[in-house]
Symmetry: C2
Subunit: 198 residues, 2 copies
Amino acid sequence: MEKTDSRTKLLEVGTKLFSERGLNGVSIRELSQAASTSISMISYHFGSKEGLYSEVLKQQFSSFQEFHELRGRISDPVAMVEEYLRWTFRRHRNNPYLLRFYTSELTNPTPFFGSIVQPVIDEVIRSMAAVIEEGIRQQRFRGDVQPTNAALALAGMVNYFFLSLHATENLISHDPEQDEKLVREYLAIFIKGVAAQA
Amino acid sequence: MEKTDSRTKLLEVGTKLFSERGLNGVSIRELSQAASTSISMISYHFGSKEGLYSEVLKQQFSSFQEFHELRGRISDPVAMVEEYLRWTFRRHRNNPYLLRFYTSELTNPTPFFGSIVQPVIDEVIRSMAAVIEEGIRQQRFRGDVQPTNAALALAGMVNYFFLSLHATENLISHDPEQDEKLVREYLAIFIKGVAAQA
DNA sequence: GTCTATATTGCGATAGAC
DNA sequence: GTCTATCGCAATATAGAC
């Protein structure tokens, strides 16, 4: 029952350390010490340091499954934008490491970007662009809005909030209790921003 | 007149290589080879690899000077938002390395984050929040808009566009000729998003 | 599965000649 | 200012005992 075997422990500390300093910023010595095991366990379980990293990355990006469920359940465009925002806040609050991997891979891609990260981004942006397109078709959003650009703008607003977390600690309250208020603020800006004239 | 001395050359290749793979991803051997000089020139000119990195970082963030000039010249809130967007596009187009340093420092901070990066972010967000506050005072923006959150949302929309560049290559045209169109699209979304009811 | 010990390579930094 | 040569160390990875 005790799942704190060396494999699990290595995945745990790998998640924390890789997220903080990237693939090149962490050595297998440090990883094995932090996991209270020996260097050789990394080769044994994952083949190499990169093997461990790619396993961590896969775990991180598997949380996107929930997005599918959401997309299948909600058809109203405005409601879907709202749930997208809520899902994004929830996801980053539940997993404080995710965004670091996300942006670290965007900025300084490792060999695993193409296979693990890119497909996920692609699908979310495509999906949200389709949502916005549907809003335009229903004449609830302006016809001159570019769906893909707008989807990217939406994703940008909310992800950037988390990306900037520790640069804005002294500018903004980052108390999770405020999240619902922020969701509504971003929702208001975006929906009024793309809305058709009343 | 030939300014391709080793110091200049090291700053050039340092900018390119550090932006692509971060401080830990590049060795002084690789840097000196790319600069067609020897390893010891890095210690000689900059004291250490970190010294070179911090010098590159300083250069990158000095381009924020232009923002001051803008802020001093323009008082109308809507015009200032428009010029902020245009300035951001121009800045990233003129310097394709800047955003990588920016987000790399946000995600995996080096010891230089606090002294070089943080103050710049602080000032831009504070300034734009003040711009939005002025818009609210003039009753052109809604009174329930949170200035700092809105400033962060604005910055997020536009910076995220560049951050996602190579994840969205197959989704969006990244031809710089489209920039003016994008500026107007983001401007429309944001201004309608925060506008007071007509 | 887990360890210790070790092989090998590459790292950052510097001494000293020119 | 620039080079070559080298030091000392830390990196990844693996062999082999238990």
